[in-house]
Amino acid sequence: MKYTEEHEWLRVEGDLVVVGITGHAAEQLGDVVFVELPETGTQVAAGDEASVIESVKAASDILAPLDGEIVEVNERLTTSPGLVNDDPLGAWFFKMKIDDLSVLDGFMDEDAYNALIG
């Protein structure tokens, strides 16, 4: 598992990268009440707004962590947004197809992420 400074987790699944948000991020956001997912087939660049998450408090963007194509989205979050709080590591947002999985090496590992959120 890898982590971004935007508090997303990245997990490799075959040749895809699965993206979600960390428990720390979910806790900071508070109770999630709405998730807007991207359309499959969308080409995104790292830093593009790829999803929107709304808690009782505010709306936040989920940014694409990498350049690539959105190939699958987790429709369960549309009907049960609370899964993001209940099981942040299980509540993936989307799966991306990227050219070169080795770019993941540039992201934080768990120890580095835990140091970041201290």
Binding site: G30, V33, V52, E54, V56, A58, A59, P81
Partner: protein, 373 residues
């Protein structure tokens, strides 16, 4: 946050795990470890304790009899003050010459004086306004040595009655000065801003912490932050000053005509005679240019303050603006309120992040109130 004022119960909020944020010049708990959603639902199911000591508590003590004070106070608001019996509280609005709202407030007749509670963000201006306008007929005394707590929800009555005997007999909008054996003189009103039955309680600062701790030790009472206070009042259809009402919105536009009793309207015994009467009476007669309405987004995306309302899914004309909105935990859906241009009764679309979503008009409150009348 060094330039922010601290509440008298600051240390208790920290001890309870409150997350403090700046609000109206104070460091205020926005939520506790329970979180906004559970705090909201807990208040509706059991009871919530809110620290609202940032609000302004003011005594208006007559210099030459209550009649002159009441007449002076009525001259600031389109509201019937004179008929309010001793021991009762009423909702009021200070208006400006343009018919806008300077603040909304609660005022109570306590026999030989009036007791007024105003919004935190407006309190200095309100006190200056009252001092300027009422200085000849009243002493305007800002109460700065008492905390103000709100206890709201179905278990509020039992919890408070155990500490302050006598409150159970009170009805919605009654006020009383009661003795608490352990916490001294308590000023109570049976009111609040959540849509639930409950009380607002003024207690001397020296006793406030032990009083709050005693309430928190009562069956079903949990500390609740500003986050849930906002979602509770939104579901109750109540306005938040500075968002849903301000100096540009008139009471008629805001749908607060219930607060303007007949006696102050055209044809009433004491018609007019308040700031902005020309506009407000004309709007009562002819309907205003825009009106505050309740909104239920048809999808799950919340429509928050600032969302524009349109007459078409694409293109078209803007016909309104959301002034408060979010997810309603009890309604289990997004709810909002905002202003809509008069005369438009067609379909509505709210623009969220560049996309238009259908939104329906809805009666308020969104959640039935449980006031004990």
């Amino acid at each position: 946050m060094s330039d922010l004022k601290r509440l008298g119960l600051h240390d208790l909020h920290v001890e309870l795990g409150g997350k403090l944020v700046p609000f109206a010049g104070y460091e205020m708990p926005v939520q506790y470890p329970m979180g906004v959603m559970k705090e909201h639902l807990h208040t509706r199911a059991e009871a919530g304790l809110f620290d609202v000591s940032h609000m302004g508590q003011v005594i208006l003590k007559p210099k030459a009899g209550m009649a002159a004070l009441i007449a002076g106070f009525e001259a600031l608001m389109p509201v019937d003050v004179a008929s309010l019996p001793e021991g009762r509280q009423r909702y009021g609005l200070f208006t400006n010459e343009a018919g806008g709202i300077l603040d909304d407030l609660m005022f109570a007749n306590r026999g030989d004086h009036l007791f007024v509670v105003v919004n935190a963000g407006c309190k200095e201006a309100d006190i200056a306004h009252m001092t300027a306008k009422l200085g000849a007929v009243a002493e305007v005394i800002a109460i700065t040595d008492r905390a103000l707590l709100a206890l709201q929800g179905p278990k509020a009555e039992a919890a408070l009655e155990a500490l302050v005997p006598g409150v159970a007999a009170m009805k919605f909008m009654d006020v009383a000065v009661l003795a608490s054996p352990a916490h001294g003189e308590i000023w109570v009103s049976r009111s609040g801003y959540t849509g639930e039955d409950g009380f607002e309680i003024s207690v001397a600062e020296a006793q406030a912490e032990s009083f709050a701790r005693a309430l928190l030790a009562s069956d079903g009472v949990a500390p609740i932050g500003l986050g849930a206070r906002d979602s509770l009042r939104l579901e109750a259809g109540l306005c938040l000053y500075g968002h849903d009402i301000d100096t540009t919105t008139s009471p008629v536009e805001a749908g607060l005509t219930w607060a303007i009793q007949k006696v102050r309207r055209t044809g009433g015994a004491r018609e007019g005679g308040f700031p902005g009467a020309a506009r407000i009476l004309a709007e009562l007669a002819e309907a205003p240019a825009r009106k505050r309405i309740g909104l239920r987004p048809e999808g799950r995306a919340p429509m928050r303050e600032g969302v524009t309302l349109w007459d078409a899914a694409e293109g078209g004309t803007q016909v309104g603006l959301v002034t408060s909105g979010g997810f309603g935990p009890s309604v289990e859906a997004p709810v909002a309120m905002g202003y809509l241009s008069a005369g438009y009764d067609g379909p509505l679309f709210g623009e969220v992040r560049g996309r238009r979503h259908a939104v329906a008009r809805a009666p308020m409150p969104f959640q039935p109130t449980t006031y004990k009348r």
